[in-house]
Every structure is written in C-alpha cells, then in structure tokens.
Amino acid sequence: MAIRPATERATLLSAHKVVKYYGDNEKRILVLHDVSLSIKEGEIIAILGPSGSGKSTLLRILAGLSTPSGGEVRFRGEVQKGSNPHVAIVFQTFALFPWLTVYQNVEVGLLNSEVPEMQRRRRILDAIDVIGLDGFEDAYPKELSGGMRQRVGFARALVVQPEIMFMDEPFSALDVLTGENLKKELLSLWRSRKIPTKSIVMVTHNIEEAVTMGDRLIVMGANPGCIRVELPGLPIEQRGKENPQHLRLVDYVYGVMTKPTEEIAEYVSVEHRQVHEKRRAFQALPHVAVGQVTGLVERLHADGDKEDLYVLGNELHMEVDDLLPLIQAIDMLNLGNIESGDVMLSAAGIHFAEAGVLEEKEVFRQQAADHIQLIRYILKALKAAPNNRVRWDTINKELLQYFSEDEAERQLDTAVDWGRYAELFAYDDQEGFFYLENDINLPADAG
C-alpha cells in the first residue's frame, strides 16, 4: 500500500504559536515559546531535545493534560479543551497502578467508555495478546520485569483505540536490549496496521531512536523551549545502522543539537524555524561534576585529542541528554571546542589532561576564573565585601533575574562545586555564605 504524500494526509492535531509559562506574574518562567506544529495521519513524529527544552511539557499540552498560556491547540479543527479522550499516553516510568492486575490496569481506559461488557473483555484480552503478555492477565506489576511493565503500558494505551498515541521517553527506563526489542515490535505492529492508531508522537532524547522510528523529526532547543528545526525522517529502507544515510542523519542531528548559541541558518539546509535567545549576564552552567569533566578530558586525550560526538556517545553509552552538558562544560571552560559534530581539545585541555592531580587544579582554576561568568561574579563580590564574606542569598537574588528559583539554586550549586574544587573560594553550607580562605592565591585577573 503506497504511503500517501504528506500534503494529502489529514491533519489530526495542530498547535499554533503555543506559549507556556510556569509560575505567576513577576517570577514566571517561559518554558515554551512560539511552538507551532501539526500532526498528520499516518506518521510517527519524534520530538528530540536536551533537558530543559520543554519537550515533556509540549507533549502534555498536545495531549490536553495541560493548557497553554498562549496560542491554541486544535484537534480535528476544534479547539482542545481539557484532556483529549481520543489520545493515549505511554509513560516513561510506566505509570501502572501497583494494586491492579495486568488485566485491571489495561481495563482502566475502558472504565468509562460506552463499550458493552462482552466486547470490553474481548478488547482487553486482545490488547494483552497483541503486546505479547498472554497468560499474565492476573499478574501484578511487581511480578513483572521492566519491559513487561511497559508492554502493559502499551496495551493500556492501545485498548482505547486512540487516534494519536503519545509516548514520553517510553524506552529510556528499560535496558538497551529490552528497549530494542519493544521498538521493533511496536514498529512491526504499526507497519502491518495491526493497531488502529493513526499517528504516534514520541518524545525522546535518544537521537538514534528518533532516526530509527521517526517519519519526521522535530528538534527542540532549550531556554526557552522552542522548535529549532523540523527535519523529514529517512525513508524506511534507509533506516538502520548499516545504512550510511542513517549515520549521516544522526551525525547531522548531533551537530544541530550541540550548537546552542550559534546561528544554524548556514548549517541547516532544510526549512527551519528559529528563535532569538534572550541575552543573559550569566551562562547557563551545565550541571556536571568536576570529576566527570576531568574523566572526559583525559579520555579524549587518550583518544588523540579529537573525537566524533556520536562515536563518543556510543563508547560511553551515553545519550545526548547526558553527553551534551559535559561537552558544554568543556566548551565553556575552554578546555575544548566543538566543530561540525566533533569535539577537539584545546591547548589548555591537553595541558589539563597531561597534568598531575595538583597541576590539574591549577589549570582548572585558571580556566574557571577566566571563562565562567558566575564564578567571576562571586569572586568580585568576595573581594569587595568586608571580611571577604558574601551570603548565598545575595548571589542567589542576582541569579533570580535570569533563572527560575529552582534553576538559580542549581546554577549556584554547580558554581559552588566548581569553585570549591578550584579552591577559588570556600563555602559554608550551615551558615550559608561564601568566603575567601587566607592562603588562596587568586589568578591575577580574576574578578
């Protein structure tokens, strides 16, 4: 059966200039900015993005679980009000009710439907069968493995015969093999049209997964969440790690995602959307520990000071979600540079990798004092303050202008971690203040 061209297929769900704020008037944080997309029949859409890009929030707005602060979502032309009964969601943590059996869990979606009793029972047993759990109807979730629990999640979603099935990182809580298995089965069910679902929207942070499954890829950016690029997926024959086009697309998406502040207009040749990012006084520090940065730099040095990001991710068994912050940290500290999908150590980075424990600190201290704006700010405040002491709250207040309350705290935590390691300043958690220790030699131009 030929797949009808995209333009001819009906639009099931459309989002138009969706905006979402959290919090109230003065302190509100923009989570999603100007998001517009449409979901057509007969396609699998993969929404990709780093943490903080609001992709889970977007999914919930599309499904009707959450209302947008601005813009609108329409289902089959009608404005969506409240939770949409024609969609289902498969959750990352499975969200099964532990006190219900497999049968009862799958039944949940049908409890309020008009379907008569006999048919209901038939549908539930069929869904359980299709998903491969025949025989487990009376088992409780705690008797099942992770993969089996997610199958129950799928059965529950399928039994209501949704028009759109949303999936929120459905395979990320599973081990690699189980996840692969489930993905293959889901795709096979989809392609053989054994399930009446008309489209699937999948949120993921795994680029590989998105390229394998997506007919269309939507890449989101963070701070604030927005759509950066919409890419057509590969034709089915070209998917799979053996195919060069597959690898090329994965690399390409890696490239797009690792260029946080640069213009991607020249980089991207397909249609794109872009949002101007708010200028900040402080960089958004990635939340990684110094030990992880050290480990990665040393590893890169051992690999010849240069590595392809995709290969690196595979070797370290890290998803782009986990790898990206580390790469950003290396970039920010100027221990390395990112260029067209590769990461390369800088001179400082090579020096760092070859140094012993104490000298490492020296290098790190220099880099942090030179390049990390928040640490520079703290040092400046400490130098100016009487007794060289500054309260946590003072710094935090400054950050609140640019970050949400939670994020400001996390930023400061990361800065404290890096600053303490670098011995640039000390911090007393009990009393809540920064201070300079007397024997610290600050780099001459710090602060």
Binding site: R60, A63, L65, K81, S83, P85, V87, A88, I89, F91, Q92, T93, A95, F97, P98, W99, L100, V108, G109, L111, N112, Y140, P141, K142, E143, R156, V160
Partner: protein
C-alpha cells in the same frame, strides 16, 4: 481433600469449603452480637437511676464487647472523617490553608477536658437514653483516632507521583474512580499503619470516658473501664485481676483478628515495585483467602454495586464538570456560602465563650492557671527526659537485634495500646498505703505509665533502620562506648526519637487530666497542675474554669509544638536524616 469423594462434576459446582464455614460462623456470630449490643445502647437512662455495674465474671465479656463496639464505631467515624477532610484539604487549595492548621490545633487540644461539654451536649440530644453517654464516649475516642489518619491521608494524597495522576486523567477517570482506584490505594499503607497506631491510642480515651464525673454527677457506661473503676472503688481484688486480664485479652484479640490480616492484605498496595522477603503474614487472612464463597459473593454483589456507584458518581461529575457558565457561578456561590457560614459559626462561638469568660475571669485567675500549666509542663518534661534516659539504651539494644525486635515490637505495641489509666486506681491505692499524701510527684509516674512506650517503640524502630553498612564501618574503625553513641547511634536514631517523644508528650498532656487527681474511698489525692484544675472544674461544672483551663493548656501545647517539636523534627530530617 475433603471433597475428594465427590464426583468431579459436582465438586466444581460446590462453592463452599471449610474456610467458608469458619467465616460464616464468625460473621453470623458478629451480626448477632451487634444486634444485641445495639439494642442495649438505646436502653433508657437517667442520672439518678443508673443500672449498677455488676462485678461478676460472667458480666465481664458483655462489658468488654460494649467497649469494643464503642472503639469500632469511633474508628468508623474516624475513617469517614479522614476521607472527607483529607480529600478536601488535598484537592482544594484555598480550603487547605485553613484545614491543615486547624487539624494541627485539633491535634493539640486536650480533648479529655471537653468531656463535660460533650457529655451534656449529647445527653441533651438523646434525653432519657444512654445513647447520649455512648455518643460522648465514642466522640472522645474518635478524637484520639482521627487526626493522625487524616494527616497521613492528606500527606499521601499530595505525594501521588505525577505520572500516575496523569495516567488517571488521560484515561478519563472521573473523580470517584480516581478516588477508589488511585487515591485510596496509594494512601492505604499509611492509613493502615496510622490507623493501627491511632486505634491503640483510643483505648486510653475509652477507659477515661466510661466512668466520669460531670457537673456533680457520676456516670458509668457499661464497659470494661467502668468495671475496673467500680472494682477498685469496692476493693474487689479478684475483679481487678479479671479486668486486667480481659483488657490484655481484648487488645491482643483485636490485634490478631483485625489488624494483622489488614496489614498483611495492605502489602499489595506497597508502592515500591519489588517483592520483599519479609512480608507480614496473618493466619486469619490466609483463611479468608482460602474461602471460595467470598470471591463469588464479591462478584455477584460487589461488582454490580461498584458499577452502580460508578454510574451515580459519574453522572454527578459529568454535570459538575460540564463547565457551563451557570455551573461555575453556582459552585462559587456555594463555596462562598460555606465559607461565610463557617466563619459566622466560629465568630459566634468565640463571642459566647468570651462573654462567659469576661464575667468570671480575672488576671489573678489567669496567673494561677498559667502557673498550674507550667507545673504540668515540668512533669511532662521530666517524664520525657527520664523515659529517654531509661529506655533509649534498651530500645537500641532491641533494635540492633532483628530477632529481639521481632518479638519485642508487637509486645511494646500492645503495651502502648493498653490503657494505663485502667491501672491508675491500683497505683493510687499503693500511694495511699505508702502514706504519700499528694500526687505532685506520683502523677509523673502515672503519666509515664501510659506514654513512655511511644519513646521505646520509636527508638526500637529507629535503631533497627540504621543501615548495616554504617554499623560495620563503625566496628571496622574501632568506635566503641561513648564515641560509638555520639558519632553513630544518637544521631541515627534522633529523628525516630523526636517522633516518639512528640507523641509521648502529646499523650502526656491529655493523661494529666486523669493522672493529677485520684480518689479512693474517702481519700482524695491530687497534684497541683492544670490537669487537676480542669478535672476539678469538670466535676464541679464550673464552665469558665473549664474553658480557661483548656484554653491555657492548648496554648502551651500549640506553642511547644511550634517552637520545640517542629524545629526538632525538621532538624531530624535535614541534618540527621538517613536519606
């Protein structure tokens, strides 16, 4: 198999096994007793002509059954209260701002002091029948049981994981289905645990409310508390022993036949997703599970009933959620009316209270009352300190040994449930024989009798949850004696100790009302303190004094809660919490 002599075709049709017969007999017996007891609860009654309490052994089981019935009626009321109050507080943000602090205060107010109010109130509602006294007693027990469960339910409701809530919304569950399939099951473990603890706490209030002196009259409700009181008054030692044995027997019986099965059943609501090795077991639950008739009954009766309820509530919620302008307006008007009515009610009640107080209360009186309360406070403090010093080492020793804990935990639990005030008269007689002429110090002992078990119980629990790798590290690094205690044990059990001490102190304030005054024959012993003040005022029927006394005690408790227990508790969580 018992049915193996029957042909196969017949065997499969039989829906009754031996387990069913046992259950049938039990249920039938229960219904019969309930009918009989219910009848007795409506017996005619008047203050002057009360049916005398018999001290014979044959009457005792009947009295015990009456007491038990009261406990369960109060428990039923507590559960209902918990569901309604907790649900509203969790779902309605504006209501929450009032309801939760209110619950806090209710928890602190010494309800035993209100007995005079409730007795006269209920007797006015049910004139000429003993129902009035019963209700007063049930109400007193209710106040001992309800607050903890409500807090636990509320806590559980606001910590339901987001994805479960989202799943319930996405799959279009209406509010009743959410309640029954998500909210209650999620809270079940907390409810069962708190229910068990609270139920035990109710025994004290039962004993205290069965034999009371109010407004110059002595009332005796048929029950084990009255039995004991009369036995002591008449010096009938045999009856005293019977009563104690019966009390222990009932506490153990309820534990085995009611709580153990429920705790074992509630394991299926455990939210951690692993099968644990050490699951609580219950013989009774096993018997129930072997029954064949019950599942069949559940199917034939339970399922249609569930569907009916679902339809009713489904329709109701559809109307409520249909979102038209008029429904929104109606809902707001409704909310405003309730708010105005409650505020008006509270204002009026306070106004009346002030009126009464204004005419009789003067500064001197307030000074006295605050002073008395301070004395009682010192007693509570002494009790907590001594109980801590004595029981902490023992509790830690028990807690560190899994074998000992398994034996000790249920025993201490029973000890905590056993109403110590049943034993008060005996202790008082001992005091009299020893020529101790006032209760100033003796009341500390009496108070401790009932409340020190909470400290022991919690210390045991705290010690047994110290992770073994911490203890191993301590051994490896040679920590011993005071160092071991200072570095590992005391910090590790601190949060648990705070919970125990807080509960013990709370119970102590209430206990002071019955511990600071005692009568045996013609001897009248009392201690100088606010418990005595309130008790005396209750007996005399002196309303202003009752109100002031309770008010002052409540102020003490609320202030102590805010400035001592709350900070200690959060200190325990942040600094000493084990994760």
């Amino acid at each position: 198999m018992a049915l193996s002599y029957l042909p196969q075709s017949l065997r499969s049709k039989i829906r009754v096994g031996w387990a069913d017969i046992v259950i049938f007999i039990a249920v039938f017996g229960l219904f019969f007793s309930l009918k009989h007891l219910g009848h007795e609860m409506q017996a005619p009654f008047s203050a002057n002509r009360q049916t005398p309490i018999s001290l014979s052994l044959t009457a005792l089981p009947g009295y015990a059954a009456r007491s038990l019935l009261r406990m369960f009626l109060a428990f039923g009321a507590s559960i209902l209260f918990t569901f309604v109050y907790g649900y509203i507080a969790a779902h309605n943000l504006s209501a929450r701002k009032i309801l939760i602090p209110l619950l806090d205060i209710l928890q602190s107010v010494p309800v035993l002091g209100f007995l005079s109010v409730t007795v006269t109130g209920f007797m006015a509602i049910f004139p000429g029948s003993i129902m009035g006294l019963e209700c007063a007693s049930i109400f007193a027990i209710f106040t001992a049981q309800a607050w903890n469960m409500t807090f636990s339910f509320y806590q559980s409701l606001i910590t339901i994981p987001r994805e479960l809530r989202e799943a319930a919304t996405v799959y279009q569950l209406n509010w009743w289905q959410r309640f029954v399939k998500l909210e209650v099951p999620f809270s079940m473990i907390g409810l069962v645990w708190n229910g068990m603890m609270s139920f035990g706490g109710g025994w004290f209030f039962l004993a205290a409310s069965e034999a009371i002196s109010v407004l110059g009259n002595s009332f005796y409700l048929p029950g084990i508390g009255s039995y004991m009181a009369i036995a002591v008054a008449r010096g009938d030692n045999r009856a005293i022993v019977y009563a104690i044995i019966m009390m222990v027997f009932i506490v153990v019986l309820v534990d085995q036949l009611f709580w153990r099965p429920i705790v074992a059943w509630s394991q299926k609501f455990k939210f951690e997703q692993t099968d644990s090795i050490d699951e609580p077991k219950s013989v009774v639950l096993d018997i129930i599970r072997k029954s064949k008739a019950l599942p069949w009954l559940a199917n034939k009766l339970g399922a249609p009933l569930a569907r009916l309820l679902n339809q009713m509530f489904g329709k109701a919620s559809q109307i409520a959620e249909s979102g038209g302008q008029t429904t929104v307006v109606v809902k707001s008007v409704f909310k405003y009316c309730i708010a105005i009515a409650s505020i008006a009610g509270v204002l009026y009640a306070s106004y009346r209270g002030f009126e009464v107080a204004r005419h009789t209360v003067n500064l001197r009186m307030l000074e006295d009352v605050f002073f008395y309360a301070f004395l009682t406070f010192l007693r509570v403090l002494t009790m907590v300190v001594f109980a801590t010093i004595i029981w902490t080492p023992i509790g830690v020793a028990i807690g560190f040994s899994p074998k000992l804990s398994k034996i000790a935990q249920p025993l201490v639990q029973i000890g905590a449930s056993f109403p110590a005030n049943l034993l008060f008269p005996i202790v008082v007689i001992a005091f009299i024989r020893l020529h101790i002429d006032n209760l100033n110090w003796g009341s500390i002992l009496l108070i401790a009798l009932g409340t020190q078990w909470y400290i022991l119980f919690n210390v045991i629990a705290g010690a047994s949850s110290v992770p073994s790798d911490l203890r191993e590290a301590a051994t490896v690094f040679g920590l011993k004696g005071w160092n071991l205690w200072r570095t590992l044990i005391l910090p590790a059990i601190f949060p648990a100790w705070v919970t125990g001490a807080l509960t013990a102190a709370g119970g102590a304030w209430n206990a002071s009302i019955v511990a600071e005054v005692a009568q045996s024959g013609n001897t009248h012993l009392y201690a100088e303190g606010i418990g005595n003040y309130i008790a005396a005022a209750t007996t005399a029927g002196n309303w202003p004094q009752i109100i002031v006394g309770i008010g002052v005690m409540s102020i003490y408790v609320v202030l102590l809660n805010k400035f001592v227990w709350r900070p200690l508790y959060s200190l325990g969580e942040t600094r000493f919490g084990l994760g």
